[in-house]
Symmetry: C2
Subunit: 110 residues, 2 copies
Amino acid sequence: MTIASNLFVDIPPDLPDELFTTLLDAAEIRIERIVSHGHASRWFDQDQHEWVVVLKGAARLRFEDETVEMKPGDFMNIPAHKRHRVEWTTPDEPTVWLAVFYKTWRRDAL
Amino acid sequence: MTIASNLFVDIPPDLPDELFTTLLDAAEIRIERIVSHGHASRWFDQDQHEWVVVLKGAARLRFEDETVEMKPGDFMNIPAHKRHRVEWTTPDEPTVWLAVFYKTWRRDAL
């Protein structure tokens, strides 16, 4: 029997910086686990679209025109070049994100 | 403030069949939530690769040569045309899967 890998293991107790782990690196997509623990981030302006979900913890994303509170299970799609940053993550526990980066949004663009 | 969508809401108490909800339908990828509640499935032989994670509940996947037990956080990549089926999901609670279907595995194939 094969043992599957798990999103919630191998989280160091001390995280001086956010921890980025690539789970899948394929031609069109990249799947990352991101672990934050009280971290905020710089502003991102990405060439790829990002579908992101919070699986544990709590976070607040800031966009130029709004903020979005994220709790476990909350997901959203961030189009390429929509500027955003992580404004806050809870200091109480690690916040685990799953992010799917992909290149082409419109099906009819292919 | 925008409210994000959530993976763990809108789960009907009675599920005669597995519930498939498309969360993102882009050019190269499709992201689905799948809710099982004691269900097994037919065999699948898919044209697309599938990266899948169990977020709640418990499940067992069967491949032609092995089985894989899945608990929350467990993930695996199922290459296209690797035959598989859901052999078992727990009857105790809904099992929530997140599946990312994508077309091209090798980065150098583009």
